[in-house]
Subunit: 226 residues, 2 copies
DNA sequence: GTGAGATTACCGACAAGTCAGTAAGCTTGG
DNA sequence: CCAAGCTTACTGACTTGTCGGTAATCTCAC
């Protein structure tokens, strides 16, 4: 597999929307395919979902999908990039906020996600699958988590400065923990949609972690009966 | 759920070690296969890992595996049950503690898990895969999370009573959140073993959540600059 | 304790189906 | 007319599960 992430012959950047090459209807069709891919691979997983499944949903044969995306692996990667793009489009300003605002943004994201189980499911399944051997999305998720942890860590730094807290020993743990609750709650919410409330619970947990950074409470051992 | 998980023809209880039917060497072989299954399906996922992969690791053909477990689905289910059993065996008293001790037990579990990435990976991949359509382990994980949330909720009740806290409105959120961080941190730890510290970070997060139940800090909006 | 008959453990071969990817050709917008 | 979009037809690689057969092991009458 030579150029792993795209099947386009020329080495042009993926992001550059090459208008000369593609008809407008084609761009639309590609988007339709990507949406179907989110649905299929979210519902059946990336290994069990097939190109034929995706093709059927857009009224095509699987060879048609391959015409557009070259390979299944490439379709999966473009699907993840597509989700990111769709995420940012939701934001009024096309940029994720920094500083203390970030925590509110994360909570809002959790509430938004509660309205779109399909995408959440695709993301949850793919992220866990990515830890398997030679998974196409491994690098994608490694970068994603690194980036998000860094952004959250920076937000904590700003917050600590603002609140006059000097001990920043817990911020890296807290950053990882915030991402972790959000992911873990998504899984439980997908398993028990009526029982676990994604938005509210995420809000509670993020608040708990943020407050613990600013003012750590007693140690757990305190509560064990001695 | 007794005999549903085995392909044995007679409806005898699984737990009763039927010495007459199985040779001691066979029991050993079965365990060996289950261990190999944890390795293979943890490394490659349940859909991508094959019976032949498992068979090769124990020096057999895939037909031999099917002789012992009847079907791939059954092998997967027995593998999960096997992990649970191995978990409990680690405990000195064969029972998960209740009350405030439970939180310390969960932290200890996180530290123990940091020593066995293979099993953690299998569990992480399978739990996420379980939300896909008609996954064999779906029911297993639904029950698992329900049970664990209930146990943690009960532990919170005891803790609240002990500490004189009457407002228990957050305990169900907290129970889900604790499981969520543990799961989510496992994923990040598997992606970045050197960066994320499973034990320490879990400890921090669980402490943060427990303390938030007993004494909720300020709301997140407090920190946003006005 | 031993030999006959049953049961278990496993293999080799194969059946049946699935899936990604390829090649060649039809169709149609521009 | 010609390239992009798509199909039909096909291949080769896998995979689960089945089936007979074989060798090892167990049971038990004698």
């Amino acid at each position: 597999m030579p150029d792993r992430y795209t099947h386009q012959k020329k080495g042009d950047a993926v992001a550059t929307e090459n208008a000369t090459r593609t008809r407008p209807a084609t761009r639309q069709k590609r988007t339709e395919i990507l949406r179907a891919a989110v649905d299929i691979f979210g519902t059946k997983g990336s290994a069990n979902g097939t190109l034929a499944d995706v093709a059927e949903q857009v009224g095509m044969t699987h060879a048609g999908i391959l015409h557009h995306f070259g390979s299944k692996q490439n379709l999966l990667l473009e699907m993840l990039a597509f989700r990111d793009q769709a995420d940012v489009e939701d934001l009024v300003e096309q940029h994720i906020p920094g500083g203390p605002e970030l925590f509110l943004h994360l909570v809002r994201t959790a509430f938004v996600n509660a309205q779109r189980p399909g995408i959440v499911q695709a993301y949850t399944v793919m992220s866990a699958e990515s830890i398997t051997d030679d998974h196409p999305a491994r690098e994608y998720f490694e970068e994603r988590y690194s980036t998000l942890r860094r952004e959250i860590t920076e937000a904590f730094s700003e917050l600590c400065a603002q609140e006059g807290v000097t001990d920043q020993s817990t911020v890296s743990s807290a950053a990882a923990a915030i991402l972790a609750v959000m992911d873990g709650l998504q899984l439980q919410w997908l398993l028990h949609p009526g029982v676990v409330e994604l938005g509210e619970t995420s809000q509670f947990a993020i608040r708990a972690i943020v407050n613990a950074v600013l003012k750590p409470g007693p140690e757990l051992e305190t509560y064990a009966q001695g």
